[in-house]
């Protein structure tokens, strides 16, 4: 009898928010919802919508109803500023997940510091961001994803086992440029000779002149820094020209999205080995729910936003409620510095004193229309 009462008393705090009347917890998602990169913002928006439904069906977070807000940063620094200000001042969110694109991230960082609102970045890749957050000057910025400076050493070591020379082919934006710089340096350290770097604009379609150049240069391997939508066209032309280099990738080639684009001829992707930090296969339930809801293959940008929400922001909200008794921008920020989630699909999420998390690098191989995780590498500081 006493045990029953004790159990009931323990179970009491888990009752839904309605019974306690706590204010809702508000989370803002900022991404590029218009402009040339609108496809990334769409993924983030869809993820946010699904997460709101999922958590409110479970009774909210820490007994509070979840309200999700979205802002468009247009992929530019000024847009990042506007998105943060809108989410903070108009929607009055407690925490921001964003901004997907480095230009917007860089623009947003001084503002989250000014407004004292925590921002957890799910996929901005510019290494400069790491130099700016945490004890480096901005305690309100956090980042879950690694940048290529962090991935390069591990991936380059892996590539060096298979090739002694390489050409880097990268998309002409912050992601591609940052990756190219990081791998050029990392390749040098492991003895892979970089025979050249080429940049292409996203959405352009004729890679053949570039491929002919690669053929002439004759490296043993190519490192592709590109997303699925460009990668599928690229691989068709790669095979068309009969190139036989080993293919390594950073981007979103080892994804269901890519497999969907090449479904007419799955062998197009055979042999691609990609280093990434998110894959549909690490979270099959999310993939299933996404496919059911949106009828298109699951997307990396939505996936990372969901992981960031589930395994960084939600734990922080819960910790804030438990430890400080209230959920607001300051307590969430403080809680973020303390969370330690060792078993998330992307590895361990724990922010160091530079507010950066060190998740796992996945090496994924594409073969016969299937994705196979070859290796998981814990990233170092």
């Amino acid at each position: 009898m006493r045990i029953l009462i004790a159990l009931l008393l323990i179970a009491l705090p888990a009752l839904p928010a309605a019974a306690q009347g706590l204010p809702p917890v508000k989370v803002g998602f900022a991404s590029a919802m218009s402009g040339p990169s609108a496809i990334t913002g769409e993924g983030v928006r869809w993820a946010g919508t699904m997460l709101q439904e999922e958590y409110n069906a479970k009774g909210g977070i820490a007994g509070r109803k979840l309200e999700v807000y979205f802002a468009d940063n247009e992929g530019t620094p000024a847009g990042g500023v506007s998105a943060v200000r809108k989410l903070a001042d108009v929607d009055k969110v407690d925490v921001i997940i964003g901004q997907t694109h480095s230009g917007a991230c860089l623009g947003a960082l001084p503002i989250v510091k000014e407004l004292r609102i925590p921002q957890v970045t799910e996929s901005c890749s510019n290494p400069k961001i790491h130099e700016l957050i945490g004890k480096n000057g901005n305690e309100w910025g956090f980042r879950v994803n690694p940048d290529d400076l962090m991935l390069a050493n591990a991936f380059a070591k892996s590539i060096a086992r298979g090739a002694k020379s390489a050409v880097i082919i990268a998309q002409n934006d912050d992601f591609g440029r940052g990756a190219e710089a990081a791998y050029k340096a990392a390749f040098g350290k492991v003895g892979v000779k970089v025979l050249g770097s080429e940049f292409f604009d996203r959405g352009q379609a004729d890679y053949r002149p570039l491929l002919t150049r690669v053929k002439r240069t004759a490296p043993e391997a190519v490192l592709l820094v590109m997303l699925a939508s460009d990668g599928s066209v690229f691989m068709r032309q790669f095979r068309e020209l009969g190139l036989t280099q080993k293919i390594y990738a950073r981007g979103s080639l080892a994804t269901v999205e890519f497999l969907h684009q090449i479904r007419d001829n799955p062998s197009l992707g055979d042999g691609i080995i990609e280093a990434t930090y998110w894959s549909a296969s690490i979270d099959p339930e999310w993939e299933r729910k996404w496919l059911d809801r949106w009828k298109v293959p699951v997307r990396v940008h939505g996936g990372m936003a969901a992981v960031t929400f589930r395994y960084a922001v939600v734990p922080a909200i819960e910790l804030a409620a438990k430890k400080y008794g209230r959920v607001d921008r300051q307590t969430i920020r403080d809680a973020l510095t303390q969370i330690d989630m060792p078993n998330t699909p992307v590895g361990r999420i724990k922010f160091d004193d530079t507010n950066q998390a060190y998740i796992e690098m996945l090496l994924i191989e594409v073969r016969g229309g299937q994705l196979k995780i070859l290796e998981k590498v814990q990233l170092q500081q």
Binding site: F200, T212, R213
Partner: protein, 289 residues
């Protein structure tokens, strides 16, 4: 040497694409004196029409291509009746801005309707490789080149031999005289629009199997086609075709030998150079299409 040849072959595919799109632009400017900044969107919509017919409805390739061209011809007529009628007699500023506005509307409606994920439409020919010595290319590229030549030939015949075609040429030379002589100026304008749009749709059906279709594909294409039209001499169709091939090959060579990242600048640099040196275009200020 083989390398150079291969790059030139790439340039021919690009050139065929630019030439087909530029021809439509040149026709519209030549016959009706209209600047159409939304022409690239005709290509984009033609691409989606082709995708729908080929991938979704399962039509065989030639039928799907015909559907794309026909659908765009109908769209061209509708566009002429609505947007163009209203701006045909206005200054070219108004025409440029109005067509630019429709370009924005069409691109963003395409994002809403079709989504941002690109559509791929590979065909058997685009996956089958032909080996010529050391050069490998998909059979589909040969198709593109052959089709382009056939289309230009047919256009030439159309303009020289058919009543409507001859009226188009006459209108491009002297519109007032045409009206005086009794040419149905309105009908010829409509026909020009339908033809231009059909050309864009056909180009999309031809080229999409090698690349992909997405809402923004028309933007850069419009600009490069304009560059070709200017370099060829505003309104002179043959000039535009030649200029388009020059730009396509120059772009491939620049991409292959100078820098791939800067290749898009080539078209504009060529255009600027021609504008500075011969403002009337490479082939002089010709009267008529």
């Amino acid at each position: 040497m083989e390398d150079l040849l291969e790059q030139a072959v790439h340039g021919l595919t690009l050139g065929s694409l630019y030439a087909m799109v530029a021809t439509g632009l040149a026709l519209m400017f030549g016959v009706v004196r209209l600047i159409n900044f939304a022409h690239g969107e005709f290509y984009m919509l033609g691409g989606y029409a082709f995708w729908f017919a080929f991938r979704e409805a399962g039509l065989p390739y030639p039928a799907a291509a015909a559907v794309a061209a026909a659908a765009m011809a109908v769209f061209g007529l509708a566009y002429e009746r609505t947007v163009i009628r209203a701006i045909l007699d206005r200054t070219w500023h108004v025409q440029l801005i109005a067509t630019l506005a429709t370009s924005i509307v069409m691109t963003n409606l395409a994002i809403i309707v079709f989504g941002t994920q690109p559509k791929e439409v590979p065909t058997t020919l685009s996956a089958t490789i032909l080996q010529l010595g050391g050069i490998r290319l998909a059979w589909h590229r040969i198709l593109v080149l052959v089709a382009a030549v056939v289309i230009f030939g047919a256009l030439q015949w159309f303009v020289a031999r058919t009543k409507t075609g001859k009226a188009m040429r006459a209108m491009s030379q002297n519109r007032e005289a045409c009206a005086v002589v009794g040419v149905d100026v309105e009908r010829v304008a409509r026909a020009t629009f339908a033809l231009s749009a059909a050309l864009a749709g056909g180009a999309a059906a031809l080229v999409s199997p090698l690349f992909s279709i997405f809402p923004d594909v028309g933007a850069l294409l419009t600009l490069k086609a304009f560059a070709a039209v200017i370099v060829g001499g505003f309104g002179y169709v043959k000039g535009a075709i030649a200029a388009a091939f020059i730009i396509g090959i120059a772009e491939s060579l620049a991409a292959g030998y100078v820098s791939y990242a800067y290749k898009d600048a080539i078209g504009f640099i060529v255009m600027i150079a021609v504008l500075l040196w011969r403002p009337q275009g490479l082939f002089g200020r010709r009267i008529g299409i």
